[in-house]
């Protein structure tokens, strides 16, 4: 059985490597990627159903490091089993969906391999019983996120977004590394259980835990490290789903959950976490309401939802354990993946990820319509969907925490949670109304894609004034930030069967830039591709409805308090009604009531990007100073030495060019003097 645990990590890792190094053809890459995802899901299922309950599964032997013990063990318990399974399942749906989504992308094999590696990183983190392995998985995810967000690297915006994501998380990783080292030093061991049980040295412990909080703030997108996440929407939609649903941003809360018994006894670290989470959840939910781009809206909602998970870990009483936070992680994984995949589908139909062009398109298909509806409802927390249960468990846990005497940090969280519930319901309603109530397009205009060629600034839309940011690149190149350009349905050969009833051949002048690869096996069958896409969305929708059942296996993850449930349902209903009214029953975008400058600022992320860019410029300026010092100050010493030597040599040369007979006088006089000395002194 221990091999199952190892294989859960090994299979996607090998699939990733194989895809990267070997698979050059698309069918092979598809088989490897999807096959490995299926195998991983099955293995994770086995592990979840029959967890070993042990934390000393060898990986490749302990490191011989003298005074530091680094056994590098994996663990297998209920929590890792559940999360592992959810991760594997979400990755499976995403891999299946990617086959459809990137069907015309020449670099699909690399992309699929990247997703596999990413999954391996997350699964390693989930199953790690060793802080070093946690860090390994953590960093692998960071790297893969860079590769995947920048997949579409012909566009400057995508390159910049990838760089920004990687750098922001990497900077936060400074704290992560220091924190993990501190915790390991305390126990002289990187073994999770040794770290958790080491008593004493609370000063060091607090420092380490706070460092870890700041470390996870990077990947989980807490303020002030949050701004990379909306920009990361430049990546293809499957990556967004991957990052947002079950892996990267959720990894932070999982790490905190694994260290929960340390956090439970440490007020200082938890207060920091609570404050960061509370700020982030309200801030991000408020910004989400004003977004004009569906993917960015979802990104901000992710920030907010991840903060909810973390707030549960920050505020819940120790007795509640990690259940509330992890429950919300699982629920969020399902409905956020669902929303992203559905959103990607919509974007392909509409040719843009901006909300305005999508208006009405959600009615294009049954699965799409119901999928998006379930997704938004679950996100808003409408009973009986999974979001309702998990969110109310968190609120209940926070209330219990407040009652338990947690004081400030619990109350901050409770207030923020109720505000977030309200805001979440508002932006979900707004988005749904926009998507569902637009003018029903019978089909997409033949040249529709042409209009939205440059997504992010569609004609006539005030909402897409996504401000151009300055690229944070050492080269100082100024690039405009935009949003992902979804693969367009313009290929005459491959109309979407669900979308187009009577297929007019699209104008051929707008063929996709990437040539259709010469793969025509059964995998290429259009209907099969569409089926894969639809099945993925449907599976996730099912998960969003039935996810509560999964959570029953994790103690403490479903615990609905009546008071909080009633209050939040009322809040949701009120917010939805208010938005409905403001939106004139769906006749206009509810966000249009906001003043234009506020809207623009919100779309621009309130200038966080500018601050990042300024920081980047400061670093580059320092670097230039360093290079100047290196070349012209430090290096002056060797140059001065060389020049001195040369000057001395010249002087010597001149001396030797003196009149020869004078030299002779010198020599003879010297000999005489020496001889006199010799004769006199010798005696």
């Amino acid at each position: 059985m221990t091999w199952v645990v190892r294989l859960v990590v090994l299979v996607p890792a090998l699939a990733g490597l194989a895809g990267l190094l070997l698979a050059r053809s698309r069918p092979a890459a598809q088989r490897i990627a999807v096959g490995a995802a299926v195998a991983t899901t099955v293995l994770a299922l086995i592990q979840w159903v029959a967890p070993l309950g042990t934390g000393d599964i060898d990986t490749f032997g302990a490191l011989p490091l003298g005074d530091l013990s680094a056994p590098l063990h994996l663990l297998s318990d209920e929590l890792s089993g559940l999360i592992g399974f959810v991760v594997a399942f979400v990755v499976l749906t995403i891999q299946a969906y990617t086959v459809w989504y990137l069907r015309e992308d020449a670099r699909y094999p690399q992309f699929a391999a990247g997703v596999s590696l990413f999954a391996a990183g997350m699964l390693l983190l989930v199953q790690s019983a060793d802080l070093v392995l946690t860090l390994v998985g953590w960093e692998i995810m960071g790297w893969c996120s860079w590769l995947l967000i920048g997949h579409d690297s012909e566009r400057a915006a995508a390159r910049r977004a990838a760089y920004k994501a990687f750098m922001v998380t990497r900077i936060a990783d400074i704290a992560m590394v220091v924190g993990l080292i501190t915790l390991s030093v305390r126990a002289r061991s990187t073994d999770l259980f040794a770290v958790l049980t080491e008593p004493g040295r609370t000063g060091l412990l607090t420092f380490g835990l706070v460092c870890v909080v700041f470390g996870i703030a990077g990947k989980s997108g807490l303020v002030p490290f949050h701004d990379w996440l909306p920009d990361a929407m430049e990546g293809p939609t499957p990556v967004s789903a991957l990052i947002h649903a079950a892996t990267m941003v959720a990894a932070g809360s999982y790490v905190i959950a694994r260290l929960f018994s340390l956090y439970a006894g440490n007020d200082a670290a938890r207060t920091v976490l609570a404050v960061l989470a509370a700020i982030t959840m309200v801030y991000a939910a408020a910004l989400a309401f004003a977004q004009s781009d569906l993917k960015r809206l979802l990104a901000y909602s992710t920030l907010s939802q991840v903060a909810i998970m973390l707030s549960a870990l920050a505020a819940a009483p120790a007795a509640f354990g990690v259940g509330p936070g992890m429950g919300h992680l699982v629920g969020h994984a399902f409905f956020k993946a669902l929303l992203f995949l559905g959103g990607g589908w919509l974007a392909v139909i509409a040719g843009s990820t901006a909300l305005a062009p999508m208006a009405g398109h959600v009615r294009s298909g049954v699965v799409l319509r119901w999928g998006m509806a379930i997704g938004f409802a679950a996100l808003a927390g409408v009973p009986p969907l999974v979001g309702f249960f998990t969110k109310d468990t968190v609120i209940d846990a926070a209330l219990e925490g407040a009652a338990d005497g947690a004081g400030f940090r619990a109350w901050v969280v409770v207030v923020a949670l109720f505000a977030t519930v309200l805001l979440t319901a508002a932006y979900c309603t707004r988005a749904w109304l926009v998507l569902a109530n637009g003018p029903q397009p019978a089909r997409r205009p033949a040249n529709g894609a042409l209009e939205v060629e440059r997504v992010g600034a569609p004609a006539g839309s005030v909402t897409n004034s996504r401000l151009a940011g300055v690229a944070w690149s050492p080269d100082g190149a100024v690039v405009a930030a935009g949003t992902e350009r979804p693969p367009e349905q313009t290929s005459a050969g491959e109309p979407d069967p669900e979308l187009v009833d009577e297929t007019p051949p699209a104008p051929s002048e707008h063929r996709p830039s990437v040539q259709v690869a010469p793969w025509r096996g059964w995998w290429s069958d259009t209907e099969l591709l569409a089926l894969l896409r639809t099945a993925s969305v449907a599976a996730l929708a099912a998960g969003s409805v039935l996810g509560t059942l999964l959570l029953l296996t994790l103690p403490g993850s479903i615990h609905v308090g009546w008071l909080s449930a009633v209050v939040s349902v009322l809040l949701i209903a009120g917010a939805a009604w208010a938005v409905w009214v403001v939106a004139r029953r769906g006749q206009r975008d509810a966000a249009d009531v906001l003043p234009q400058p506020v809207r623009a600022a919100a779309v621009a992320g309130l200038g966080a990007d500018t601050a990042y860019a300024a920081f980047g410029r400061a670093v580059v300026a320092t670097a230039r100073l360093v290079v100047f010092l290196d070349r012209d100050v430090l290096d002056a010493y060797p140059r001065a030495f060389a020049a001195t030597t040369r000057a001395v040599g010249r002087a010597g040369q001149r001396t030797h060019r003196a009149v020869p007979s004078l030299g002779l006088i010198g020599v003879v006089a010297g000999v005489v003097v020496v001889a006199v000395l010799g004769v006199t002194v010798w005696r």
Partner: protein, 173 residues
Amino acid sequence: MTTRDIVFVVVGVITALSGLLAVSTRHVVHAALWLLVCLGSLAGCYIVLGQELVGIVQLLVYVGAIVVLVLFALMLTRAPIGPQPDIDAPVWQRVVAALLGAATTALVAAATLPVIGQQSVDLDTPVVTTQQIASAIFGTWVWPFELLSVLLLVALVGAFAVSRVVLARRSRS
């Protein structure tokens, strides 16, 4: 003062005087000729000292070869005949030279005379015969002797190289 002493002093005075003239005459060629006299009379000194072989070699090599070489060199460097006003260095340099020369003399004398003291040797029955010298050269000193022959060869080649190769390189560039 024995007879040999008197003979030696006479020959020695000739040597010293001709040496003085060799370094002080204003005729370039005369200098070489006075050197010839000086070295020749030094050969006489050697003979008085009982070293006939050395004296003869001195005559052959120094007087016969080296001085001739010097004369050749003087001719090749277009040495003028007749007294030269600028043959000597400036006065101050000559004064320094005289001082250093005197110092050298004093030094050598001071260093060696006490060693020699009032020692006198009987040269009528010579300590070393020519035969002994021959067997010493080809016996005890054979390796230095052979090395010397190599040195001579190297010197010949070197002289040739210095005068030929350097000039050839110069003319090429």
